[in-house]
Symmetry: C2
């Protein structure tokens, strides 16, 4: 129980005093900014219609946002018949947005301008077990080195969104009792990054939540109201959107589907329960079955990949073996797809989403996995719930995380919320 | 699949032309109305703070709403130190709100004023299988007779909310392929009621959704952001709230948890699948097990109730028998509680609600059922998801439905939405 162990000294960092490039926005300005962000270019009349504000209130907001240099004129509309109106966009030149997607063994970084235009994209292998200081220092150094090289050090960094592979107490911006992140428990990530980038709004969330956000803003989820985004890797987790926004639940841990029981007599999960979905159907279970098939001499095709790859078998190998007709691989994939689909069928009945998105390393197995999951969902969900349900792979499997991280920071930057974040020092 | 069979002739009833007592509200007015509804009495300054509108905009809204007779002055605030301010409330005298909760075998009706003050409450047994015309005529006659008797016929009926025990296509306001409502499939409920009450806003929703709404507005759910409201009767269904509002999902069928599989080799459900939760753990399964125990001579305590009640055993009887120490009854209740709890554990991991509410006829079994459900949820959910989770019975088990129905109508009445509803004639 984290309540009893959260007796750390607390202090509040008031970002507003130090964020010289980030002004306070009124609720009305925040609404206007987010509408412009979504539609990319809007006229004053568009905004009057979308906000129900008076013309003078919209003009006041636009003037204020132009003074704050967050909004600029961007051409005129081509109305047929009527007067041509000036269009407004976010000011891409205002500053930079940073996004970091920290995985268990991978690091993905991105820099964009305020309009979301990609300026830099970078990926490398890391080990989350190196702990927060080594990992965050590496991230900070990578960003700073790039800014130096590109001569961008004079550009303000407006917002910095971070995804981490563990449960996040979103309001406090820290990881809580993460199973695979030794040394990160309650580490003050925001405070640590804030020292290095004192002028940026900083936000931290769970990696699957930011992937769901990225998919919603720039992937298959665009225009979808309610999605369940499923990341199948070693673990299995879900990000949920409700009316297009990340749904985090009451304690910030919504979407933790990896520990739903699928077999009461199944193997022991590190969480202490038996037969959790991720221990029965996740990447480790798939890899173990494939490895066993090789060791038992049951699959010559898998053996071939095993020998070629220095005695390692990847999800892509198992997918390829299945495509080559390897029955053991097909069976392994179907078993996992069936189990994952049976859990998703329950969740589809409960949540009635418009879309289920499948992503994560294991999804690289390919269409055999997707079709097993789909069949399992369709067989066990109610017809009304699956009538218009789309079940798809991520459109941006490698970028959903970093796109989401940038948008997480941008959400907070353009919001009307107080520029404060409680930081727990250890 | 309902898409292929929905080739009915469609027409649109434009409520706005005929609703002489229901004006159009601007977005700002709708916001102000709903804030006053929630807080019951607010000053202009309270509203400035809550809306971020200017003082003149708030005053403009209040003036307009006073002219429309939806808002009245209601005393002054007792601010300490500062000036006393005029408080505004909804105008209870403006007109009446009707609520009807139609169950499979029960009918609950309510009339309130615009402030939600209860003016009349009525319940009787019905049979939903009598079909829509007989049932709706009965409801209309009961309302009209009461209005006549009380001399209320001169009061306008502003809104009429209806709950029905089947899946509802909320946008169209009709029941779709209901399993236990013969004759109701796609019957134009709104259009039919509209003929009798042409001046009222009319809304129809699933019975569990309106119960969840009622619980949120007036029961244990007050102040709870995300609840799962579970009705355990012959069937099992759930109503979900997200940030205090009913979450209906993409097709309006969210919360249909009765057909989640709990036993792949279980008994056949009328839906065509095996081992659905409601066929294994619902009221019919419990009653059947209890009846079998009596016929097998295994429970003298249950036999006593059976003989006293004309060979019928109710949920209350089984609860009482368990309290008297009847082991068979305790076992039957525990089995159901365990199964329902195991499904809820999955949903708690997924949705991370702040509260699970248990209601419906079977909940009258009492605390033994609640504690089995609670134990099962706590055993299988993640600690972070159950840290602050409340698992409780409904505070208003007999009234959640009608309270919800009234509030459903009121939601639409005070909204800024177009006063239109597509009606499908058959």
């Amino acid at each position: 129980m984290i309540t009893t162990s959260l007796d750390h000294q607390t202090k509040t960092v008031d970002f507003s005093r130090s964020l010289k490039h980030v002004p306070h926005f009124s609720k009305a300005e925040s609404l206007v900014l987010n509408l412009i962000r979504k539609e990319q270019a809007l006229s004053r009349m568009d905004l009057v219609e979308l906000t129900d504000f008076s013309r003078s209130k919209v003009s006041g907001c636009i003037n204020s946002l132009q003074n704050k240099e967050f909004v600029i004129e961007r051409g005129v509309s081509n109305n047929t018949g009527g007067r041509r109106s000036v269009l407004f966009s976010l000011n891409g030149d205002k500053g930079l947005l940073f996004g970091a997607d920290i995985g268990a063994t991978s690091l993905d970084l991105i820099i964009t301008d305020l309009n979301g235009m990609q300026l830099w994209r970078y990926a490398e292998s890391i080990t989350i077990k190196d702990g927060p200081i080594k990992t965050l220092d590496r991230i900070n150094n990578l960003f700073e080195t790039h800014l130096d090289e590109e001569g961008l050090t004079n550009k303000p960094i407006l917002a910095f969104g971070v995804g981490v592979p563990g449960p996040v107490d979103f309001k406090r911006g820290m990881v809580v009792s993460p199973p695979i992140m030794p040394g990160w428990d309650r580490f003050p990530i925001i405070e640590y990054l804030h020292k290095r980038f004192p002028d940026a709004i900083i936000a931290v969330d769970n990696d699957v939540n930011i992937m769901a956000l990225g998919e919603t803003v720039q992937g298959n989820g665009v225009g979808e109201e309610n999605i369940i985004f499923v990341k199948i890797g070693t673990g299995i987790g879900a990000g949920i959107t409700c009316e297009g926004k990340i749904y985090r639940g009451t304690c910030g841990c919504a979407g933790d589907i990896g520990h739903i029981c699928v077999d009461k007599a199944g193997p022991l999960c590190p969480c202490g329960n038996l037969g959790c979905l991720e221990v029965v159907a996740g990447g480790a279970a798939i890899a173990e079955k494939a490895m066993q098939a090789v060791l038992d001499g049951k699959s010559s095709i898998l053996k071939k990949y095993y020998d070629e790859n220095n005695q390692i078998i990847t999800a892509i190998d198992i997918g390829n073996a299945a495509k080559e007709g390897d029955e053991i691989s097909i069976e392994i994939i179907r078993e996992s797809g069936e189990l994952i689909g049976s859990v998703l069928a329950s969740l589809v009945n409960f949540y009635n989403p418009s879309m289920v998105v499948i992503a994560g390393g294991v999804s690289k197995i390919g269409n055999i996995l997707l079709s097993s999951i789909r069949q399992s969902i369709l067989r066990r969900s109610l017809p009304l719930a699956t009538k218009d349900l789309k079940i798809v792979f991520s459109k941006i499997p490698d970028d959903a995380g970093v796109f989401g991280a940038v948008n997480l920071g941008l959400d907070l930057l353009l919001s009307n919320e107080m520029r404060k974040s409680k930081i727990f020092s250890q």
